[in-house]
């Protein structure tokens, strides 16, 4: 399993994605966005899956990254400015 973080343009969008993931059986939780990832103080979805599951993202997703190390190494998989 790989750890991913998805950030969103709105808190609502994060909640919606979290709910979709839960319905699909993906292990996910809502959390404040890590400072190492963004200066914004929004909500992210941290999840673990065998693939990034970009198909489950709400339209207002901002970024999806794969966590390379526990302390903040990221590989960007999707960006939607």
């Amino acid at each position: 399993m790989t750890s991913y973080i998805a950030t969103f343009h709105t808190h609502f969008s994060a909640m919606r994605t979290h709910r979709t993931m839960a319905a699909e059986g993906v292990s996910a939780r809502l959390s404040p966005v890590p400072r190492s990832l963004s200066a914004s103080c929004g909500t992210c979805v941290m999840y673990e899956a065998s693939e990034a599951r970009l198909d489950l993202m709400d339209k207002d997703v901002e970024r999806v990254v794969e966590c390379l190390t526990p302390n903040g190494g990221y590989l960007e998989l999707l960006r939607n400015d």
Binding site: H9, T10, H11, F12, S13, M15, R16, R19, L30, S31, P32, P34, R35, A39, S40, C41, G42, T43, D60, D81
Partner: protein, 349 residues
């Protein structure tokens, strides 16, 4: 200690020390920093209201906006964004200012008042937390102000440029402005020191994402207590500082720029807490975001300026003698407005 907690705690300690220093150098009691009061004073200095006791261009606020701008540019985090329900944010900002001037302070000043021994601020804190809790219920229920979009550099720089021009004009052509000769507006630290401290605090708040609302909101919604450490750091630092300087007075009565009406202290801060959750951050955070190029936050700061003006022009703001009837009506109206904005900005999750 986790690195993210270190920055938050450092920022909280620096804010506490800065507040003690600014008060020692002339700012009003327990008002080393107050986003609401300082924006209100600046609004008065520009003659948007004519309350003679609260008119002064506060360099701290200008410094914070410019400090956040400079640091975010250095770290490549200056990102002009906007378009997330700007007019709704403007109205929310007015409502938050009505609540803050009912209590006589923003959440930051509430913390500084607690640090000075003002027990009325503890009542305000209970209201603030209650308001944040109600706000989180709206977030869980699908409240959204919709997303922001990338904007031009000009849009992002607009407010920082305006406040920089305001600072220069007020220093070089003071006759253009109104400055209090007595009252809280006449009590202020030297300009350059206040500006410098504002710059440092603004920069640190940008690095730490310091927010008085986020700490409580994140604890309630995600069991994440990182930002609460900063909240506690401000209070502990100011308690220690005030004890050292002999300015810690534990009481309800006779506190500087405060009143003792518990119900309206509670309701005022509840309004601030609820409104700030809907805005996505406390007044301090809005000031910092405006410095990072967020034009929605800039509109919110503009709403604070407008809100402060109507609070004084229509007798809504409290004084040391207590709240006004007009202010009570406005706070109740504020709660109604928050419910309506909440209802009309919900989506199905």
């Amino acid at each position: 200690m986790k690195k993210r907690n270190f920055w938050v705690i450092l920022t909280g300690v620096v804010i506490g020390v800065a507040a003690i220093v600014l008060t020692a150098l002339g700012n009003p009691g327990n008002m080393g920093f107050c986003i609401a009061c300082f924006i209100r004073d600046t609004s008065g200095a520009m003659k948007l209201h004519t309350a003679a006791a609260v008119q002064y261009v506060r360099p701290e606020i200008i410094g914070m906006i410019l400090g956040a701008m400079i640091v975010s540019m250095l770290t490549k985090e200056f990102k002009p964004r906007g378009g997330s329900s700007p007019m709704t944010r403007f109205v929310l900002a007015v409502v938050v200012m009505v609540g803050a001037l009912m209590f006589l302070g923003c959440p930051l000043r509430m913390m500084l008042r607690i640090g000075g021994g003002d027990l009325n601020a503890l009542v305000g804190l209970v209201g603030f937390i209650a308001g944040i809790f109600v706000g989180t219920l709206w977030l869980r229920g699908g409240f959204t102000l919709k997303r922001a979009y990338a904007q031009s550099m000009t849009e992002g720089l607009m407010l920082p440029i305006i406040v920089a021009v305001l600072m220069v004009l007020s220093a070089l052509l003071p006759s253009l402005f109104a400055f209090s000769e007595s009252g809280p507006g006449a009590a202020h630290a030297p300009l350059l020191i206040a500006l410098g401290i504002g710059l440092v605090v603004g920069g640190l708040c940008q690095r730490a994402r310091f927010c008085t609302v986020a700490g409580n909101r994140d604890a309630m919604m995600f069991k994440d207590f990182s930002m609460l450490w900063g909240f506690l750091a401000v209070i502990v630092t100011t308690i220690v500082g005030n004890l050292i300087l002999g300015k810690f007075h534990l009481s309800f009565a006779d506190q500087p720029v405060a009143h003792t009406d518990g119900l309206w202290n509670f309701l005022g801060m509840a309004l601030v807490g609820w409104g700030s959750v809907l805005l996505g951050g406390c007044p301090l955070r809005q000031v910092i975001l405006a410095g990072e190029g967020n034009s929605d936050a800039a509109i919110t700061v503009t709403g604070f300026v407008f809100g402060a003006a109507i609070c004084h022009n229509f007798g809504l703001a409290s004084s040391g003698n207590g709240p006004t009837v007009n202010g009570m009506i406005a706070v109740v109206a504020g709660f109604v407005i928050l419910v309506l904005i909440g209802l009309f900005n919900r989506e199905r999750i």
